[in-house]
């Protein structure tokens, strides 16, 4: 059987050399179709993947409508919290773990006067951040509730910043001055940069450069460190005009995250949010019914439209393109196979069964698919180099040609061609031995 299979593949390979024009057209067509699909799929895969698969169904964004039906958009609460609600959720401590975070950028003045000062981007957050998001550490660890409560100037820095400032050595316990304030380094993260950065889509940082620092939220607030991200104030005017009244105002700028391990906890947390909103209503702050949301990572990314529309549009069109290439292949295979009707007639007259014809021609199609796939692989590699021309650099750099994509390219090419070959093969197998012999 396997000997027969190899024989069929040989026949297929030999037949590729006949009808060079048709064969070339088919291989080119499959190559282009597969490459266009694979390149756009690589981008789509990179931007639509689950950034934290092991925990994406346990991490939730709680949102509270602090604006009311008159001012919110399409009935949705704003996509972040104001300071009052953020602090209330932290105090209530109703989830397994919880954190608030907002983007900050602190200036680093290198000791060496010849090196330019630079901004280290990062987040003001709570100690739970590191365990909630499974942040890997190279040295040390995150900080604990104690530091949060005491508003201590501790800091976790990235591996990259540690390399830049300390040459990669263990800097835990060292002092670091940022914007004239002294921090104590408690941890150095290993390479960690989930894409899209699900926890900060609010400020448009889904594809931003990796964070380099993490400091306690409580310390940042005490030091009046401004958010480097978005402020969404709505149009009701309750904004506040000093630091303190701003914190009490209704502008939203803080990303809330909670960890809930099972459905019962999720249900309980929803009830807690509704209870909180009702309390606010009784206190006179809200004059509308509770309108809260609790979305897990996938629902949140979907709601925030983290996948750029360009990626979806281009992938949709590329698969349409592949479909056309396949229709094209069906036609060309039909021409190629039917041209050999006399040969089929002879083989059938000499005792070949329909099954033999099927096997021979499908094997031949597989050879065409393999050749198309190899060409497609080459086009895909070229296409990946050209991605920077088509997508924004921060998105283009996420996509890469790895082994799985290479295998997928070959597999799609072969499978698609074999599927396309079913109809032409069926037609070939219908050739009547007697009729063909007579006509000759």
């Amino acid at each position: 059987m396997s000997g027969m299979f190899v024989h069929n593949l040989r026949l297929g390979a030999a037949s590729l050399r006949r009808n060079v024009l048709l064969t070339t057209l088919m291989i080119m067509s499959i190559g282009f179709g597969v490459a266009a699909s694979m390149v756009t799929f690589a981008v789509f895969r990179a931007v639509s993947g689950d950034p934290i698969p092991q925990k994406s169904s346990q991490l939730f964004v709680p949102l509270i409508d602090n604006r009311g039906p008159q001012y919110n958009r399409h009935g949705e609460p704003p996509s972040a919290l104001n300071y009052v609600d953020a602090v209330a959720l932290m105090r209530a401590h109703k989830a397994v773990r919880q954190t608030m975070l907002y983007p900050v950028g602190l200036s680093v003045m290198p000791d060496d006067p010849h090196r330019m000062p630079f901004k280290a981007p990062g987040y003001a957050t709570y100690g739970d951040f590191f365990s909630m998001f499974d942040v890997p550490f190279l040295f040390g660890s995150g900080w604990s509730d104690t530091e949060d409560e005491a508003r201590e100037p501790v800091i976790v820095i990235s591996r990259e910043l540690n390399q830049k400032l300390f040459g990669g050595s263990n800097s835990v316990g060292q002092r670091l001055v940022l914007d004239d304030k002294q921090y104590r380094i408690v941890g150095v993260t290993n390479k960690w940069d989930p894409k899209p950065r699900f926890f900060d889509t609010f400020s448009g940082n889904a594809y931003a450069d990796p964070a380099q620092i993490y400091i306690p939220f409580t310390y940042a607030i005490a030091q009046h460190i401004d958010t480097r991200g978005n402020n969404n104030c709505g149009s009701d005017g309750k904004r506040g005009d000093t630091w303190d009244s701003w914190l009490q105002g209704e502008c939203v700028w803080i990303n809330p995250w909670v960890e809930l391990d099972n459905a019962a906890q999720v249900q309980a947390y929803r009830q807690f949010l509704d209870g909180y909103a009702r309390e606010q209503r009784e206190a006179g702050r809200f004059n509308w019914a509770p309108n809260n949301r609790l979305r897990d990572v996938r629902e949140w990314l979907d709601y925030q439209r983290a996948v750029p529309p360009e990626s979806r549009i281009s992938m949709t069109l590329a698969f349409g393109f592949l479909l056309i290439c396949l229709v094209n292949t069906i036609g060309l295979l039909l021409a190629k196979f039917m041209r050999r009707a006399p040969e089929i007639g002879v083989r059938r007259a000499l005792g070949a069964s329909r099954g033999d014809i099927y096997r021979q021609f499908l094997a031949e199609a597989a050879m065409v698919g393999l050749a198309g796939g190899a060409l497609g692989l080459m086009f895909t590699a070229i296409g990946m180099l050209g991605l920077g021309m088509v997508f924004e650099p921060q998105i283009a750099r996420l996509a890469h040609l790895d082994v799985s994509l290479m295998l997928l390219t070959l597999l799609v090419a072969i499978l698609a061609t074999v599927v396309a070959a079913f109809y032409p093969t069926w037609r070939a197998a219908q050739v009547q031995p007697a009729w063909q012999l007579k006509s000759n």
Binding site: G237, V327, V390
Partner: protein, 409 residues
């Protein structure tokens, strides 16, 4: 040309006919939509900013040490002085943002203090008296700010300047058919009198969500002092942009080194700003163009392949027709007409499919409705493509000699 014999011949080649028609239909559907996307994106990235793009560059200067608002303002004024003294600099103005930046302050504009729904959204540009000249904005009514009208404010102070300048687009939205100068508008912090109107000033964002107020901007006579830093918009003297950019950075650091000017994007010429803002639009246009070109080539190749096969299959019949008196031209016409019939079937189906795909994209990707011009252009393009592709095999068919009728296959 008799169509009936062609149709009856096609009935004997149902599969091939269907495949070519299907391919033409699918190609038309995709090419129309791709061309339409290209046109939309190109139109979007060709929208004018309203400023003197050739000579403008922008410096993003971030403070070290988070200075308090008054101190930040003093530092900012010193910086402006430093920049203005440079030989290559014509004018300079501080702002919180600039057209095409992609981030900034958008806010609600109302006509009455107690109004619930906004009259319009608008981009808020903070400015001093040099803003109009630096950006080269055309004042079409009223006057510019006077130096003594320029205040300064912290990010969180009430946005309530006594006077503002607005764009023509905003004026037309708020006061259709009337002059805006002298009227009162309500910003979030209180009323402001419109003292001037400028012709054109694009919003800070060119994203879809901001398209509603794309040219509606309000210019506020305040220097915005944020502890993080500020933008200095600089207009270089003609032809001196290249030298003025590094000179400006050097002078700022020489004056006050406690600042960060990012190496990658700290100083951007406006052409850099433009290409960054429209990266995804340009990319989509290129991608769609490549897909269209390859798609048309593949479809043409498919038609050539299948028609060649048909010609090969029918050599004997062609020979018989020639022997019975058909001219070469008749044979050529036969294949051309055959292709035209298949193509017409394909484009009819393809047109429906193109509209269906477009409607789906309208709901899914916030696209516009496909203009019929693109559909017609696509139809014409595919009919021509079909005729062009069939020409070579048809010519070969027309050269089949009559003697072929006597040969066996």
């Amino acid at each position: 040309m008799q169509i009936k014999p062609i149709l009856s011949a096609l009935r004997r080649h149902k599969a091939g006919t269907f495949l070519i028609a299907a391919q033409i239909a699918l190609t038309l559907a995709i090419v129309c939509n791709a061309l339409f996307i290209i046109q939309q994106r190109v139109a979007h990235l060709s929208e004018p900013s309203g400023i003197d793009e050739a000579n403008i560059f922008v410096i993003k200067s971030e403070w070290v040490g988070a200075p308090a608002p008054d101190q930040a303002d003093a530092q900012m004024r010193e910086d402006l002085q430093v920049l203005r003294q440079l030989p290559g600099v014509q004018n300079v103005t501080p702002s919180n943002s600039y057209p095409l930046r992609g981030d900034g302050w958008d806010d609600a504009i109302r006509l009455k203090p107690d109004q619930v729904q906004d009259s319009s959204g608008a981009t808020i540009y903070f400015a001093d008296e040099n803003f109009l000249d630096t950006l080269d904005l055309k004042l079409i009514a009223g006057r510019n700010f006077r130096a003594e009208e320029i205040g300064h404010m912290d990010l969180r102070y009430k946005l309530a300047p006594p006077v503002v300048i607005i764009t023509k687009a905003l004026a037309e939205k708020l006061f259709p058919g009337e002059t805006a100068v002298g009227k009162t508008i309500y910003l979030i912090g209180g009323p402001a009198t419109v003292i001037g109107e400028v012709e054109l000033l694009q919003a800070q964002s060119v994203e879809h969500w901001a398209s509603e107020f794309a040219y509606r901007s309000v210019i506020i006579p305040e220097r915005l002092n944020v502890s993080l830093g500020a933008f200095y918009i600089v207009r270089a003297r003609p032809g001196q942009l290249e030298t003025a950019m590094p000179a400006a950075v050097k002078a700022l650091f020489a004056h006050n080194p406690r600042r960060v000017i990012n190496e990658d994007d700290g100083v951007l010429s406006f052409s850099d700003v433009r290409s960054r803002a429209y990266e995804s639009d340009r990319g989509m246009a290129i991608l769609m163009g490549v897909i269209c070109a390859v798609l048309l080539a593949v479809t043409a190749a498919g038609i050539v392949g299948l028609t060649s096969f048909w010609v090969g299959q029918r050599r004997k019949q062609i020979g018989v027709r020639r022997a019975l008196g058909a001219t070469r031209r008749d044979i050529l016409n036969y294949f051309m007409t055959e292709n035209l019939l298949i193509s017409v079937g394909g484009v009819l189906f393809g047109a429906v499919l193109a509209i269906a795909i477009n409607l789906w994209m309208v709901t899914r990707f916030e696209m516009h409705h496909l203009s019929m011009v693109y559909l017609m252009a696509g139809v014409a393009m595919l009919l021509l493509l079909g005729q062009g592709a069939v020409l070579a095999p048809a010519l070969r068919a027309s050269r089949v000699p009559p003697v072929e009728a006597t040969r066996s296959v």
